[in-house]
């Protein structure tokens, strides 16, 4: 019967060990900590301000309210500019999933050496810049009003002059590229990764 006692002892010890062991693995029941969602952009607003009259502002909004969710992006407004005016374009870029909303625009300006805005529009839509924008060809004219530490354009501020020729139902594309270690004086709209790529209807009347 010694063998039987030994078996009993083996079981006893192993269960004891297992018991201590399993008791040690507590069920913590903690949820992941709240994170500041740093990646998401839910709202982009294009703000065209008349250089001659700060009260003359044209705004166009794009919104993807659930960020990474399945809900569709909505372009809420068209861009309706007047003839023969000079505008400065700037932005309001927000993550509204955070409360209060997070201003991504600040971050872009801080990381100006990693970002650049690119544009496309119908050929000759503006008196200045001429052409059709620089998405197809990065060296095409765009009136960048700001530069990063390396002297390369950022585009958080750009100038636009409409001429006497009108336009209706054109497409104005604005694309923000994130180009860490990629941005150079020749890098273009297909280098790096896209932070946003939005198409608005452009009317100049």
């Amino acid at each position: 019967m010694k063998k039987f006692d030994d078996i009993k002892r083996f079981f006893l010890y192993t269960f004891l060990a297992a018991g201590i062991f399993i008791a040690g693995c507590s069920d913590d029941d903690e949820a992941p900590e709240e994170e500041n969602e740093l990646e998401v952009i839910t709202d982009v607003k294009l703000i065209f301000t008349n250089d001659a009259d700060a009260a003359d502002v044209v705004e166009a909004r794009a919104q993807d309210p659930d960020g990474p969710g399945v809900q569709e992006l909505v372009i809420l407004d068209g861009i309706n500019l007047d003839l023969n005016k000079s505008y400065t374009l700037t932005y309001e870029i927000l993550n509204n999933l955070e409360s209060p909303a997070e201003d991504i625009g600040d971050e872009i300006q801080e990381e100006d050496d990693e970002h650049q805005f690119f544009f496309s529009f119908p050929e000759g839509a503006f008196a200045s810049p001429t052409g059709n924008g620089n998405i197809d060809n990065a060296s095409d004219p765009i009136n960048y009003n700001d530069t990063d530490g390396n002297g390369n354009p950022l585009g958080y501020f750009t100038s636009w002059t409409t001429g006497s020729a009108g336009l209706s139902g054109g497409t104005f594309t604005v694309r923000l590229q994130h180009q860490p270690d990629v941005k150079t004086s020749t890098s273009g709209a297909t280098d790096g990764d896209t932070d946003f790529d939005l198409q608005f209807v452009l009317n100049i009347q």
């Binding site: 078996i7 060990a17 900590e33 994170e35 990764d193 939005l198």
Partner: protein, 807 residues
Amino acid sequence: MKLVLLLSIIFGLHTALTAQDTDSCSYELKGVIVDADTKEALPYVQVNVRGTQQYLQTDINGEFHFKELCNQSNTLFISCFGYCDTTCQHFYKQGEKPYIYLKKEVISLEEVTITANRSKEKGTASISQQSISKEMLSVDPTQSLALAISEINGVTFTSTGNNVQLPVIHGLYGNRVLILNNGIKHGFQNWGTDHAPEIDVSTASRVTVIKGAAGVRFGPEALGGAVITESDPLHLKEPLKAKVGTGFQSNGHGYFINSEIAGGLKKWSYHIGANYTRVGDMHTPDYSLTNSGKEEKSVNGGLRYHLNDLDLKVYYSYLSQNLALLRSSVAHSGTAIVRAINSEEPNIISDFSYDINQPNQLVQHHLGKVEATWRYSEDAKLTFRLGSQLNKREEYDVRRNADLPIIDLDLITHDFQLEWKHPNWGRTNGLIGIQAFTQNNDNNPGTGTTPFIPNYNTFRYSAFVIESLVSDKNTFELGLRLDYEYNNVRGRETNQDIFRDEYSFTNLTSSIGYIRILSENTSLRSNIGTAWRTPNMAELYSFGQHGFKTSYGLLRYYYDEIENGKLRTDRVTALRESDVSPEKGYKWINEWRTRKNTSSYALTAYTHYIKNFIFYRPLAVIGTIRGPMPVFIFDQADALFIGTDFSWNQEWSSSINGTLGVSYLWSKNLEKNEPLINQPPITVDYKFAWKMREFWNAESSLITLKPSYTLRQFQAPKTVRPEELIGGSVVIAQESEIFDFKNAPAGYFLLDIAWQLKFGQFDAGLSIQNVFNTRYRNYLNEMRYFADEPGINFLFTINYLFNSKSK
């Protein structure tokens, strides 16, 4: 473990004639069985004279003595079990043929070579399986576990680049293939195609692949099969052995250093090993694969204490990896995806560098194990195993906050197993076990993004019985297992609201197997196994963009019935309120093996039906702030897999040997009658080995040539190019047929050559992979959308082996 060492020997034995009687049944046969190495006598070895009912066990001096034999010439069957599987471990050192000596003093016999069939895990003996030895593993010490076992017919790997490779068995991978590391289920972030098991294959002494449903023995997740890695077997009475190896590979300018020391005393045995590997950017025939290097460090050690019939083993291993993923594989917008997929070459190509930048994965894995075995009688033993693992994973992505990990998880796994190999009950032997398994997954704060995988705790309690009945030429195997699993999940929504869920499953798994020895040279095995698996956390809860795809887990989306079944992702469904069910698999696998003179054949055929098979499929293109993006969901449907593996080995001469391998798999989603994506294409390979005993100054030389041809996967889903989706010329919706962004790559021919030489205490190897510098893409590599596979690679290795007892 009765058949731990089934030594079947077939040789003419001239019996010592003690009496020249005319009575025909008066021959006697005496012998002593001793260890070939230590010349120590082996007690308790069972010896049977073939064709008679005479069974004997060697006595304490290793002697046996048969009387009243009727023939002058006899064939002996020798099998070791019970106590012997401790002592006899000397023999079956991996890859070596054991030698048993019958002492010449007692009987005038030449030495006899005995081929040992290695023991198979209980409950899997009737399932087709194959092993890879340490010798084969050491040909390329920089390779991944998955690449190493892809040598086996019917096994391949799916990958995300050249560093992250997951084993695929008969078309299944991820957590449908259980990875058993040193008897403990490898506890890691086993989801997606971009998480490979963190196991340093150069520390393994053997890797076995079980190709059938081995769920009864190993638990859920062994639905598609199991990969078993074993470390140094810790033999006793083994002279001190040390090995230092180093090598260099031309592609990626990789280098490595391996070292190990092992020794065994009378009661103690130990081994310690440490490895380091560094590889820089790999190169295709045309361009550099920017950001494809890796750095790996590992240490491991084991200790064994043997006291009478008690055996104690302690094992610890640590692996740290920094794995780079191809820089050009990251695409954050529809236009970028179009560009990346359509360009001939990756969009970002830089000069060679060892630097590892984003995207990359930093992983650390600790494993600790204690195992106690008590052989309380000759044919019975109790085994107790306790394993703890900590898996820390950080993944970095190219994004605005690239310096913060986008995924940062700690996974703690505990395993407790108690197994009883019961004494033989008549002709039945078996194994009864209970297991407890817990996992605790936690997100570390500071990723700056909503956790992709929630926090969770899993508890699983299991009990199983495996019995096998041996009757003459037939062996029957029967297994039953009961699992209870409980999960507690806590996650965050994108607006940072907490969601919680709790669910549990109880499941019965069973398997029936049959082995028939048709003749001395032919055997047939057949196994029907059921298995189940709970959907993994990524399949249930993934949400948002990871890599270049936006995906929603099974519980993350629903169809809004009020709004005409419109897809919604604004809430997380509780599992019990959803129609998500665990996967259930039924696999029937048959293997026929035969040997005829110098050739041997093995044919495996299987059919695998999986109910509620979870797969990933495209759903729609949605507008996002970054432009239109294709969206993927996890879905469930019943699926069928039918396939066959064939191998033919021919000994062309005493030194030349060739093996042909062919694998074919057909699979289908039965519900939608459409193909499944990422299924292995047909492969044909031939391995030609030329072994020379003495070559020039070397003691031995082995040259292997391995041509292989992989066919184009002609069962791939139809192709819809991303620009067709984004441009709207192809509209996909809920019920759309499955598609892929790119045609399955063309078939390709590869040639690998390896040459290994042994000079005294050195052995050296030169291998050339992809000899013709072929341009190709592998259908099972996710990077096939973006880049070619690496080109030609020269690999040099040299090992110094120190053996305190030189031969």
